[in-house]
């Protein structure tokens, strides 16, 4: 019997030929990060525009979701870590070339800032709220005084956070599906849209919902534009990127991508939003829920599909 021994560099479990390291935790984190970024951005924007009274859900109520979304997202990220007790090491260095370092530091600033924002509105939202300690009352007064400065910081950090959720993947050059500069703006725009959907769901003001629906329609349009251009880029690129795009153009992710993300997660809710703007009665939670589910699925699909695309054959 002839025995043969094959030695190959291609048999690296969970790395090559297919990456199998990121599971549900990463897309959930990317979704919650994008959602938080969307809510924070518009809370800051309408504060700077002095529209706090007209846009109460945007400025006051929806930001209460942000600390929860960020903490839950970070917890999902923590669960994903192989060496969980060493997570603090991210904060012993600043590496400008590393998106993870950018993300870790952004979250380090944005999480307490979002809590501070919520704290500054606690007494308005819960009139019986009592901070118990005088120092906390003084701290609250300070937060209220510098709310506009906080709004600028929130807007800036929200954009960084939103873009980072996409760049986290696109910086991973070894995977053709992720190796596109469109992912950063795509995830930012998608995050803004999911944030708007959450605010619209919470808002009780017709005026506020109208303003936000109009903005959301623009974001949905931009998102579709970016997705089309992402595929055009893939189809005009090398063979591996054409094959990556084929996963969505007849391959195993075709149905979930086109039916559940593009049609039910973007086009259908946008149609409902247009109809609502034209005076038709629509239970507002329906388009909002569809956009949120679409946003979550987009991240699941991009993370999952990206891991099975590869350069070497």
């Amino acid at each position: 019997m002839k025995e043969e021994l094959f030695v190959s560099g291609r048999n690296i479990p969970n790395i090559d030929p297919y990456l199998n390291i990121w599971h549900w935790e990463i897309p959930v984190y990317l979704f919650l990060g994008g959602l938080a970024a969307g809510i924070m951005f518009f809370a800051g924007y309408f504060t700077i525009m002095r529209k706090e009274k007209e846009m109460q859900a945007t400025v006051k109520y929806a930001p209460f979701l942000v600390p929860f979304a960020l903490v839950l997202g970070l917890f999902a990220l923590f669960l994903d870590l192989k060496h969980q007790l060493y997570f603090w090491r991210l904060y012993t260095t600043v590496r400008l070339e590393s998106p993870m370092s950018w993300g870790a530091w952004t979250l380090m600033f944005v999480t307490p800032l979002s809590m501070l924002w919520v704290a500054s509105y606690m007494k308005e939202v819960f009139p019986k709220w009592d901070w118990k300690f005088n120092i906390l009352n003084q701290f609250e007064a300070l937060a209220i005084k510098y709310r506009k400065a906080m709004a600028w910081a929130l807007m800036f950090l929200a954009v960084v956070l939103g873009v980072y959720t996409g760049i986290l993947l696109s910086a991973f050059n070894a995977r053709p599906l992720w190796n596109t500069s469109i992912l950063g703006p795509l995830f930012l725009v998608s995050g803004m849209s999911t944030g708007l959907a959450a605010i619209i769901w919470m808002s009780k003001s017709k005026y506020e919902r109208k303003v936000l629906s109009r903005i959301d329609l623009i974001f949905i349009g931009v998102e579709l534009f970016l997705i089309i251009h992402m595929f055009m880029g893939f189809m005009a690129a090398s063979e591996v990127q054409i094959e990556a795009a084929q996963l969505f153009l007849g391959g195993e992710f075709t149905v979930v991508f086109w039916v559940f993300i593009i049609i039910l997660g973007l086009i259908f809710p946008a149609t409902l939003e247009v109809l609502e703007l034209r005076g038709f009665h629509i239970p507002i939670w329906i388009p909002s829920l569809l956009i949120l589910i679409g946003g979550l699925l987009l991240r699941f699909v991009m993370v999952e599909a990206g891991q099975i695309t590869r350069y070497l054959y």
């Binding site: 039916v259 039910l264 409902l272 109809l275 005076g279 038709f280």
Partner: protein
């Protein structure tokens, strides 16, 4: 233009004859695109098979009825035209409700002479009988009656005749649920 007032003036439903023509064209499109007609009960059936297959895969594989719907290539039971047809029906119906001003708060529509609870119980019993009947008849009003007659199937014609014929007869005994 005050669209809200205009919407209230609109009829609540499409002209039934025009609706019938549209339904026929939809059926034609489904035969053309998917190679098979419409179905409503199919998606529910496949959902049921999926649940059974998840909880007791051996039982599902050994059962003559369930095993028919489990793909041999290992793909998902729910990855089926019927499921996507049902999803489309749900969202299409929603759009129709919005366009014709029937979309309101979540509510149970019932005769003023019966309670919501009675309505829900009656609907559940009716649904149960209809579900069982559709499986005995190898299709429901969409799968067997509509798609069957469109394909000039004698079985489809029989289903159509008996389904509506018996429906008229039985309606007399349950009329107090509605009038």
């Amino acid at each position: 233009m005050n669209t809200e007032t205009d919407i209230k003036k609109k009829p609540n439903y499409l002209n039934p004859y025009f609706g019938g023509v549209l339904l026929g064209l939809l059926l034609l499109a489904t035969f053309f695109i998917a190679g098979r007609g419409l179905s409503a009960s199919g998606a529910v059936k496949l959902s049921l098979v999926t649940v059974v297959n998840k909880i007791a895969p051996e039982h599902a594989a050994n059962n003559t009825y369930y095993s028919k719907f489990i793909p041999e290539d290992g793909s998902s039971i729910m990855f089926n035209w019927l499921v996507f047809g049902a999803i489309g029906t749900f969202f299409g119906g929603m759009l129709s409700g919005v366009l014709y001003g029937r979309m309101g708060k979540l509510r149970v529509e019932h005769s003023p002479k019966i309670s919501k609870r009675t309505r829900i119980i009656a609907a559940a019993i009716g649904g149960l009988l209809f579900g069982m009947g559709s499986q005995f008849g190898r299709g429901c009003s969409s799968g067997a009656a509509l798609s069957g007659t469109a394909a000039l199937s004698f079985g489809g014609l029989l289903v159509m005749a008996f389904m509506f014929g018996i429906g008229y007869v039985v309606a007399y005994f349950v009329r107090k649920l509605w009038i």
